[in-house]
Subunit: 182 residues, 2 copies
DNA sequence: CAGTTTGTACAGTTTAAACTGTACAAAATG
DNA sequence: CATTTTGTACAGTTTAAACTGTACAAACTG
């Protein structure tokens, strides 16, 4: 790609990619990974690790780990191409689904972990306050903690339900997709 | 706080705090900041920087910057206490609102930035393809990019609407709060 | 099955960010 | 207004994470 206009094209792309790189930390990825994602977004064909390495001037190892991260987030897919041994990757075109997957993968597991910890501590505290020789002030504090943790549990349950509304696509009842692919 | 049972109380708290510390990176905060948040969550009274520094064994400077971060996220509030010169801080008790604020603050600004970049690049590309001396292949690629960016814009607009549904509390129509504070 | 190719594990290096201590400005006190 | 207290700016240090190069295992090729 050369000749008049291609420089302006690249500047236009670069601006968008840099913006993504600045903001994709919300998905828990580094700006390097975000730039890789941006590159793949504009590239029309599925890319190999060597192409990525070439385009970004980074090591193949980095490309490998970055690709794995984006795969885990389901933001890119592995494409099987015939007649080649290299793996090829392309961005998940459905950004709505990527958003949903992010919550389904990262937030859900975080919430689940917190719920587990809270339930365990809740149990321990319930046992604690039944001890006959417990200090009165400790008991009072424990009861207070129990109350707080119950509230936290309610919140996490709510959050889990919100995520379920994403997963089931009921969120599109509240905010419809602009239009389906024609 | 000492005597029988207080050690078990602390273990129970510690478990929950550590779980939060592991997962609060989703809010873009470090585990240290998360632990501070956890400390304040269990503490019943608004805390001063010196109390935090004492409890966590960290520098006052760190406490200051951490508190600022949590304030920016609206996860804690500054409380005005009479009869003291120190600032006091307490966690925002309404976690539903904290969740909403996070999107309202961080995600909205990220989406807005991306939209700005895309619109600017979209404009540049529209100009580009009207150039009479443009390379045909470049023109074709530019048109393809324009199409992708329009789709992206639609997605970001959808996302902005989702955030608005959070802000307006219409999300509670889809997933009701378990029950209001009595 | 020998020869290639491809992706990744791992150790070492570089880079970024978290954290500290000092020093100071702003605000409160008497 | 002098004195004390409090929060934070800033430079320097420490710690964590991103990144690289080598080396190798697994998978493909002929």
């Amino acid at each position: 790609m050369e000749g008049n206009g291609s420089d302006k094209l690249l500047v236009a792309r670069e601006r968008v990619v840099e913006s993504m790189a600045k903001n994709m930390h919300l998905y828990g990825v580094t700006s390097s990974i975000a730039r890789l994602y941006g590159l793949m977004f504009f590239e029309d064909h599925p890319m190999t690790l060597d192409e990525m390495k070439e385009q970004l001037g980074m090591s193949k190892t980095s490309m490998s780990t970055s690709v794995r991260t984006l795969m885990d987030l389901k933001m890119i897919d592995k494409k099987w191409m015939k007649g080649t041994r290299k793996d090829h990757y392309a961005v998940q075109e459905d950004w709505y689904q990527s958003f949903i997957d992010f919550f389904s993968i990262k937030w859900k597991s975080a919430v689940t972990m917190n719920i587990q910890s809270i339930k365990k501590s809740l149990h321990d505290l319930e046992v604690l306050i039944t001890q006959p020789d417990i200090d009165e002030e400790v008991k009072h504090t424990a009861e207070n903690d129990i109350s707080k943790l119950h509230e936290a549990l309610k919140y996490y349950d709510w959050l889990l339900q919100v995520i379920q509304q994403f997963e089931s696509h009921h969120i599109f009842d509240l905010v419809p997709r602009p239009d389906e692919k024609l």
